[in-house]
């Protein structure tokens, strides 16, 4: 369907993967997000007042869904929610059919699915824009834009920074996309992860060759020269030995002690929810910016939605 539309010159915009974005695209989003922040300060806008947006979540993710729905409503759009658990998925309807039907109802689809590539597949079926709100372990591009914009806004710039990705990098989807995104802007990236929980060689190689960055891999929590520290969780279930799990979690827990050697103007980000990977005492440290980062979710998603329709 989409190919047919393309042939007659109708171009439908989607947001599916960070791999589809270039540096200029990210910078263009930044400008649009700034405009949206301004709109939020002024109150509710009506940029998308004639639009209906479907949130189609095949696996639960309350925060992401709520954030997209809030963004849509702040733009004056209406939101319909498709609850996959109670609906056709259980009856074995194909995703192709589900997308075809919902595409016939609404103006844009925000989709979350545990199957990898589901959003791209949906974009090939749909005649309206599709946003990937997470497809298995693959991509979550709106989160990456939140993360990149957070660096720019909360650290004051996006380039020329030493960025450290910290925690269980192997199993965190947010980290894979962020690694790619950060490499667009920064030459020095450090990966700090317990043994066996860093990115695989192929991922590192892809980013190194694509962007010519220098990637340093560390197995100890060293953050002395770091400007941006992005922390993600280390899950106990990843270890076969519970004693080992406890030891590693303790070693990698971010405390005031760990932060002693860190730069004064470093910022700490986290995709949230956090459990115990960051000590409570750190929340009150001026470098902890994760709650501000979470708040940026709405303007970022407003910019993404408005951009689909060329309204920003």
């Amino acid at each position: 369907m989409r190919d047919a539309l393309k042939e007659i010159g109708v171009f439908v915009k989607h947001l599916l993967s960070v791999r589809d974005l270039k540096k200029e695209d990210v910078l263009s989003y930044f400008r649009k997000i700034e405009k949206m922040e301004e709109e939020v300060r002024k109150g509710r806008t009506n940029l998308l007042e004639d639009k209906i947006i479907a949130t189609l979540f095949f696996e639960p993710s309350t925060r992401t869904k709520l954030s997209f729905q809030t963004a849509a409503k702040r733009l004056g759009a209406q939101v319909v929610n498709f609850n996959a658990d109670a609906s056709s998925l259980k009856k074995g309807e194909s995703l192709m059919d589900t997308i075809r039907i919902i595409d016939g109802y609404v103006d844009a689809i925000v989709i979350r699915h545990e199957i990898e590539g589901a959003a791209r597949f949906a974009s090939e079926i749909a005649t309206h824009p599709v946003i990937n709100a997470g497809d298995g372990a693959n991509q979550h591009p709106s989160q990456t834009l939140i993360d990149l914009y957070s660096i720019k806004k909360l650290r004051g710039k996006i380039s020329g920074l030493n960025v450290t990705l910290f925690g269980d990098l192997k199993h965190a989807r947010a980290m894979h996309s962020l690694f790619y995104g950060v490499a667009m802007f920064n030459r020095n990236i450090a990966l700090v992860a317990p043994p066996g929980l860093s990115f695989d060689e192929r991922t590192v190689e892809e980013v190194e060759t694509e962007f010519g960055v220098k990637v340093t891999v560390k197995e100890k929590p060293e953050i002395d020269d770091c400007d941006v520290l992005y922390v993600c969780r280390i899950q106990k279930e990843r270890f076969s030995d519970p004693y080992e799990a406890e030891r590693v979690k303790k070693e990698f827990m971010l405390t005031q002690e760990t932060l002693k050697k860190a730069k004064k103007d470093m910022i700490i980000l986290h995709p949230l929810p956090k459990i115990d990977e960051i000590a409570h005492e750190v929340d009150s440290d001026s470098r902890a910016k994760y709650f501000q980062q979470a708040q940026l979710g709405v303007p970022v998603r407003m910019a993404i939605l408005a951009d689909l329709f060329g309204k920003v």
């Binding site: 199957i115 990898e116 590539g117 791209r120 497809d135």
Partner: protein, 144 residues
């Protein structure tokens, strides 16, 4: 006495396949059970250039030009000869394509291509192939 495989009058001869890769060339072209044309794979043929090579001959069937490049995936040194009336009508060295559609299956069990009616697609990168859907990368060996 050398093994004799007769010349073909009409069909396709894929020459200069690295020794041992002939079976993989067959696989990527879908030559196997249910393939109706007469064909012969001659393995470990002496070659001045390559030491040893494999040759695949397919009778009365012309391999589609768009399939030439798929061969490059498993046998980058191969050349394809289209034979008509006992003469080589066209000869082409294979080249790595930028994208391969519908031939290879994605090994990722969580990939959408293993759930829905959709043709697989892979982008050819430096050393690997990346699934256009789940975006995971694989070596050619993992896919064929």
């Amino acid at each position: 006495m050398p093994l004799k495989v007769e010349k073909i009058e009409n069909g396709t001869v894929i020459d200069h396949i690295s020794s041992g890769e002939g079976l993989r060339v067959m696989k990527i072209l879908g030559i196997g059970l249910g393939f109706s044309a007469r064909f012969a794979l001659i393995a470990n043929v002496k070659s001045k250039k390559m030491g040893k090579k494999d040759i695949l001959k397919i009778e009365e069937k012309y391999i589609d030009e768009k399939d030439f490049d798929k061969i490059a995936l498993v046998a980058p040194s191969a050349s394809v000869n289209i034979v008509k009336g006992g003469r080589v009508a066209k000869k082409k060295n294979v080249a790595m394509p930028a994208r391969i559609d519908g031939v290879l299956a994605c090994p990722n069990p969580k990939c959408i291509t293993n759930f829905e009616q959709v043709a697989s697609a892979f982008f050819v990168e430096k050393k690997t192939l990346r699934c256009a859907y789940c975006e995971r990368s694989f070596s050619a060996g993992e896919l064929i």
